[in-house]
């Protein structure tokens, strides 16, 4: 026992990587389980044309306990008056709402509702008071977006929380800025427009719709073009590089020295 403690001290990097791997595996497992439950829910709903009234019913059944029967907000959840359909689409279709469990912040997971159901709830919320609408196809069209401009705007406005490569980062007291890989264009757009949770709002006067499309194009460029240098080690920067060189670089070379100096039989 005591022997092990001593080794922990000396092999710190190894230990942290072990924990890291364990943590990632655990996180992956949890999200898979949650995802399965959620998708079972979603598939049981019939995909038909739904109206704002259906949206209201869905809202009363699933959201009103925290956001209030008239979406006016309660101590458990903020008011949704004026948040707009864009906010509903983002929160519901990234699976952040309804909250899986209370914690520092809502986490992305498999959505609990179908797109139609979400749209219906969005219509209901939008009818309460005007707010940002779900972006149209033209707005999200990145065919002639400027990737370089998107990168620059992203670095100035987004990278401090989400990391330059969109790998995510820590905020205060357990909150975090999520990883931005493989996110639907509409959801990126809606997040900027509505400022979900602690993310600031980036209205069209701050980042214009064209610039928002540029950012989406940049993020999708990163998704589609893996690092030219090979595996990117999570794009976490020097920390993962340092762990890698200690564990696999120097570890591998130490293994070689053992082979090199072992007596042949």
């Amino acid at each position: 026992m005591a022997h092990r403690s001593k080794k922990t001290g000396r092999r710190h990097p190894l230990a942290s990587l072990g924990l890291l791997v364990l943590g990632l595996v655990a996180a992956g497992g949890v999200s898979t389980v949650v995802g399965q439950v959620a998708s079972a829910d979603a598939s049981s709903q019939a995909p038909t044309q739904l109206t704002a009234d259906d949206g209201e019913q869905l809202f009363q059944a699933n959201c009103a306990s925290c956001h209030g029967v008239n979406a006016e907000g309660t101590p458990e959840g903020p008011s949704l008056i004026g948040v707009g359909a864009a906010s509903v689409d983002f929160q519901v279709m990234t699976g952040r709402m309804p909250l899986a469990f209370s914690g520092p912040q809502g986490m992305a997971r498999t959505p609990q509702f179908s797109q139609e159901q979400s749209d219906a709830m969005g219509e209901y919320i939008a009818a309460l008071a005007p707010g940002p609408d779900v972006p149209s196809e033209e707005v999200l069209d990145t065919a002639d977006a400027n990737v370089a401009n998107g990168g620059e705007i992203f670095r100035i406005n987004c990278a401090m929380c989400h990391n330059v490569a969109g790998a995510g980062g820590a905020l205060t007291e357990g909150k975090f800025a999520p990883d931005l890989h493989d996110i639907d264009a509409a959801h990126i757009y809606e997040a900027m427009l509505t400022g979900p949770q602690n993310m600031p709002v980036f209205n069209d006067d701050n980042i214009s719709p064209e610039e928002k499309a540029d950012i989406i194009a940049y993020l999708h460029f990163l998704d589609e073009n893996p690092s030219v240098g090979g595996f990117d080690l999570g794009s976490l920067g020097p920390v993962s590089e340092g762990l890698f060189i200690w564990i696999f670089g120097l570890g591998g070379i130490v293994a070689i020295t053992v082979w090199l100096t072992a007596k042949p039989n």
Partner: protein, 539 residues
């Protein structure tokens, strides 16, 4: 020994008439102009002990050679100017962006020059490996006591090499002038400014005026490719010369004593192994560089004082300093109209003290033990429990600071609160080394006890035998004399007693030293004696 000789006339004393080959002609040609045969005769059959942990310094040396080779390639293409340009290279997400020439040329190396990215990655991976292998090498030297007389000076030189390697690393990390390295320089600027009296001036002169200015990259470039490598190579040479003069340490073993060195001769076995090992180290670095990205500068974008990336960290070897800054308390005093930034000065002082202690450790230990003998036998760490415990405490101290530099990543990856991570690490920086010291010492003493048991009663063979009386026992197997020697051959000093000096006085210094000596040597396991072994063998 003949001084003048025509090249054709072979000396009569050379018994077998040698065949005239190109090699012999060349050797003769060289020797007549350099007397190189003397060097060969002196070094050629020198003995080098064989143990895996003795190869770690070589890893450092070889990665340095790789750094020199790849770095030379990079200098042919890199332009360290901070002048402005607009990028028109092939990486689309930066096309048309304003940037410095240094950053643009780093991008060109990465995207437009065949093998350029490979050389950049080789250079950076090799640099990380260089510092890591120096660190591991130093740990080996420390924990085996290989820094003791006559090698204290070589420890100091090695330590300076470690510092230089970090300086090389930091200056190199800054050269591409990307966002990450620029923020690193901003942090350095902030730290420098906090130095009382001269801080502002140092910052002002370093950056040629206001940070970031247009001067710092070319200045760091000169340091990185000329001044620092020159000093590094000189010290490296001294390190090697002292290594040859002092000969390598070896672990105690049958036939191995403090007065000899047992191993393989340089020619040919060691040369083949070490030469082959160079290619292996180079090959491993090359394989990593071919398959794993390091420092993707194209993601970071050009340096701009306004943006910053989440997870802004220095390379691993500067991490401990960054961690110290993160863990420091937010203290600052305004006194007589002057500002004292304790939040920066305290971590700088603590790091300085830590570094000085590491550098002078051989002298401190020698003062405590008053051991003036030469030591050529490497200690097994368990046989020097206090030193091993000190080392473990130091490693934990360093590791906590290092973890501090990754507090945000620890928080995001384990879904923790970054504030709480910081508080835990702040507590650990004080408690961790104490716990590590205590635990390590117990473990070392426990292992010594186990050695003693094995010497007296052999090890458990796993074979269960039924005695005629019906009782079952496990057969203990004794060691042969060669194996048991490895466990027996160590020194176990007892603490010094307070004794009066020549004039019959006992000074305070003597008391302090005796107290330290007690602290260093008090907890010990009595070594096995001949009588005990004999008694045990009669059982």
């Amino acid at each position: 020994m003949t001084t003048t000789q025509s090249p054709n006339a072979a000396p009569a004393s050379q018994a077998p008439q040698q065949r005239k080959t190109v090699t012999s002609w060349a050797a003769n040609y060289l020797d007549e102009r350099t007397s190189i045969s003397g060097v060969t005769a002196y070094l050629g059959r020198k003995i080098f002990p064989d143990h895996w942990s003795f190869m770690l310094g070589e890893v450092a040396l070889y990665s340095f050679v790789v750094i020199l080779l790849s770095g030379t390639f990079l200098t042919f293409f890199f332009d360290p100017s901070m002048g402005h340009t607009t990028y028109e290279g092939s990486y689309v997400p930066l096309k048309g962006i304003e940037m410095s020439i240094a950053y643009a040329s780093s991008l060109d190396i990465s995207f437009d020059i065949r093998g350029g990215l490979l050389m950049r990655q080789v250079h950076h991976w090799a640099a990380l490996l260089f510092v890591a292998s120096i660190g591991l090498h130093m740990l080996r030297v420390f924990f085996t006591g290989a820094f003791r007389k006559p090698r204290e000076l070589n420890w100091v030189i090695g330590f300076l090499l470690f510092i230089l390697a970090m300086a090389e690393g930091f200056t190199g990390y800054s050269l591409p002038d990307d966002l990450l390295s620029g923020n690193g320089l901003a942090i350095i600027n902030g730290m420098v400014k906090a130095i009382p009296l001269v801080g502002g001036w140092i910052s002002y002169l370093l950056f040629g005026g206001m940070f970031p200015g247009v001067d710092v990259i070319p200045r760091l470039f000169v340091l990185h490719i000329m001044l620092l490598p020159a000093i590094l190579i000189v010290l490296l040479g001294m390190h090697m010369v002292l290594l040859v003069l002092n000969k390598h340490t070896q672990f105690a073993g049958p036939g191995k004593t403090n007065e000899n060195v047992v191993g393989v001769p340089i020619m040919p076995v060691f040369a083949a192994k070490a030469g082959g090992f160079f290619f292996l180290v180079f090959g491993v670095i090359m394989a990593i560089a071919a398959t794993f990205t390091i420092n993707p500068i194209w993601n970071y974008g050009p340096y701009d004082p306004s943006p910053v990336s989440a997870g802004t960290q220095p390379d691993w070897y500067i991490g401990f300093a960054d961690g110290a800054l993160r863990l420091a308390p937010g203290w600052e005093t305004e006194l007589f109209g002057l500002t004292f930034s304790w939040n920066i000065l305290i971590p700088m002082a603590v790091l300085g003290l830590f570094i000085v202690l590491v550098m002078f450790y051989p002298f401190i230990e020698a003062w405590v033990t008053q051991d003036k003998r030469e030591h050529h036998l490497a200690d097994r760490p368990r046989n020097a429990p206090t030193r091993t415990a000190i080392g473990a405490a130091g490693v934990v101290f360093y590791a906590v600071m290092w973890a501090g530099a990754s507090s945000d990543l620890i928080a995001t990856h384990f879904h923790l609160n970054v504030f709480q991570v910081t508080w835990v690490l702040q507590a650990l920086i004080f408690l961790g080394p104490i716990i590590a010291f205590w635990v390590t010492k117990r473990v070392a003493l426990g292992l010594q006890k186990k050695d003693r048991e094995i010497l007296l009663h052999g090890f458990e063979s796993g074979r269960i035998v039924r005695r005629p009386g019906g009782e079952y026992i496990e057969v203990h197997q004794g060691l042969d004399e060669y194996e048991s020697w490895k466990l027996k051959a160590f020194e176990s000093p007892e603490p010094a007693k307070v004794r009066p000096d020549e004039r019959g006085r006992i000074t305070t210094g003597t008391h302090v030293r005796a107290a330290l000596s007690r602290w260093f040597f008090e907890d010990r396991i009595e070594p096995v004696t001949k009588a005990e072994v004999e008694r045990a063998s009669h059982h």
